[in-house]
Symmetry: C2
Subunit: 407 residues, 2 copies
């Protein structure tokens, strides 16, 4: 008598066979051991979530519009929230957009999934960074994209290498479906793309007729210096779509993000979302909208920026203080965001070192997890938003001890 | 100078080309004209949403666990909510399940989408009802399923016809990936599958090695009579997966549903969800959990059942009172749920009649919208959960007037 496990191999889709569990999520299990200081997660600091404000806000929403907030809502999203975002993006980012350019999504991970669905057929080539955000790789992988990697250095994704690839593929008459890029305080490397590279990337898209998926979850979390414009705001021809989220500037719990895209494609995105989940929680949207309407978003972002800047400073200082000198250990100086990236000498393998780090009660994510091809063995990601200031100092000390031992 | 619209045709995926806007959503626009009584929607009655209870509940959740509720959560869902569901399903449904058999989803539409992703490759045959829930057709269509239709009559999906199809396909050596069925108070037809047909369907799956996707959003809303067991609870070999939702028994706004599935497949479903949206809102889950924990769910369901039963009775009475006699107009007598189904004489076309209905200030959904092949022209769906009792009586009167005119 057969059990379902016996017949599943004949029923599962090809897509299901390429699905992978997030290595990072598996890794996080180790980091929950008592006493381990973890730089491995990617979580915002929960002590900053506006819990108290939300008590009053949820009550206001339920009082004012309970039945609507608890009903199904439009697939496109809450019109008031969309309008708030339009005004914000027009003012702060000089983005020339209207309400029709915005759709609310259930976290920006959903945006990555919907983008995958409407652009990727199995085997389609897309350009991603080496390293790249793992959630994007997972989403695109589930549509069986053919990843083409471009190195990310301290100036962001290398646009010269992008040019070479686009030239090569234009000869093959195969379309690169899109270029996926996190220009501001990239996850995982913490680097920001220069204005020159942004301009070049956009020009390349115009020339070689492909588009840019600009993932921008950290942009508002700038600690210092000047922002280069959003690629989506530089683009006047609709070639760049931008993904945003309230997860890092408000909190992840309500799962609210948004896509900015050209009208020519918005209809497809809306239809894909309708099939995926009908609509994003109207209650969550109403709560986020009310938070914004009360003028709480801007001061809240300032609070987060100050807290994360301080944590980054402590991490940078600790690296300076404790890391072995002249040992070929290099790290990025993120001007914002949640992450910092360490490059070890070539002969060291951060994955091999990981169990020894956990023995020393400190954890990170090995850089290879962010490289679809498994490269980047000598790199690792540190998160500075979640651990406390004391943990950051102590954790870097432990890490430095480890590196000193293995050198 | 090309705009993005010029280059999109070369970039869009095959899947994006089959995406369709929901006809029903388009139709709903007409029903918003002043004075129109609409039986077209499929919404629960918002006057029944537990708005007042939620004020206290959201405060409790924020007070007790604000930072966790506003953080990212596990992909599988809130463990407490899962445990509540396990106990409930074991007790009320005699389902032999554990925590590992349940995953929380962002509304059961997401479950349909994830099921599509892990089972359907383009062209794969799946069996659906004629008629079927439109959202399921949309989700499966986005993976380019090959729909095979089986008539649904007053005893539910015709299992004899299912047998013929399975026999035919077993000769072709092509796997029917799954059979999609809404056994209880089906949307759109309002009919419930008999025990005999459930048993036969399950036996057919065992024999022909395919699975059942049992979509069960209305099961708790039974007005009278006895439930046949859930197919998922009858099945001891893991061949039936069941989809549930809090949308109809609590409210749709928080977007919380769940999948019950065999452990052999759960891992795939979790990975697919991770790529799709990382996790369902922990805040929404905590709110729903607290509602359940307080023992409010059961009395709330009773309240809804009483209200909808009364509305159904009024609709049935009005049909009895106003519809032309001996004219070959037939309707279902739903024992629960939200919908009732009318079959007109063969020569009448509910789609053609729709503008005339709107002229008479009454609206419905033409049955053809629920048939993937466009059949069912002489059928239509009426919703009785959303309109008021007075509107139901008056609306059926108007509809009867229309039918009398065209006969």
């Amino acid at each position: 008598m057969k059990k379902v496990a016996d017949i599943l191999p004949g029923l599962l889709s090809d897509s299901s066979k390429v699905l992978k569990r997030s290595e990072i999520r598996e890794l996080l299990k180790f980091t929950r051991q008592p006493g381990v200081i973890s730089f491995a997660g990617g979580l915002p600091y929960p002590g900053l979530f506006p819990v108290d404000e939300l008590k009053d806000i949820t009550n206001t929403v339920l009082e004012r519009e309970g039945p609507q907030a608890l009903q199904y809502g439009p697939t496109e999203g809450d019109e008031r929230l969309i309008e708030f975002i339009v005004n914000w993006m027009r003012e702060d980012e000089k983005a020339e957009i209207d309400k029709e350019n915005i759709m609310i999504v259930s976290g920006s991970q959903q945006a990555l999934d919907l983008i995958g669905r409407i652009f990727i057929d199995p085997g389609d080539p897309i350009i991603v960074g080496l390293p790249s955000y793992v959630g994007a790789l997972q989403a695109f992988n589930s549509y069986r994209a053919n990843f083409i990697g471009v190195p990310v250095d301290k100036e962001g994704m290398n646009s010269d290498r992008v040019e070479e690839i686009l030239k090569e593929y234009s000869k093959k008459e195969k379309n690169i479906k899109f270029i996926y890029v996190v220009p501001d305080f990239q996850n995982p490397a913490g680097v920001t793309m220069t204005l020159e590279r942004r301009e070049k990337l956009l020009d390349l898209c115009y020339e070689f007729e492909t588009i840019i998926v600009e993932d921008s979850p950290y942009r508002e979390l700038r600690f210092e210096g000047q922002s280069a414009p959003m690629i989506g705001a530089m683009d006047k021809r609709g070639y760049a779509f931008t993904l945003h989220t309230f997860s890092k500037i408000f909190s992840p719990g309500p799962r609210i993000g948004w896509i900015i895209a050209n009208k020519a494609i918005m209809d497809k995105i809306i239809m894909a979302k309708q099939a995926a989940d009908l609509c994003t929680s109207p209650f969550s949207q109403a709560v986020v909208y009310e938070f914004c309407r009360r003028g709480l978003l801007e001061p809240h972002i300032k609070k987060i920026v100050n807290a994360y800047r301080k944590k980054r400073d402590i991490m940078l200082q600790a690296l300076e203080d404790y890391m072995p000198k002249d040992a070929g250990i290099d790290w990025t100086h993120p001007q914002g965001g949640l992450f910092l990236w360490i490059t070890l000498p070539e002969h060291l393998d951060a994955e091999e070192l990981f169990p020894r780090a956990v023995d020393k009660k400190v954890a990170y994510v090995m850089g290879s997890a962010f490289h679809f091809d498994g490269s980047g063995k000598n790199t690792l990601r540190l998160n500075f938003s979640y651990p406390s200031e004391e943990q950051i100092d102590e954790g870097i000390k432990r890490l430095a001890d480890l590196f000193r031992e293995v050198m």
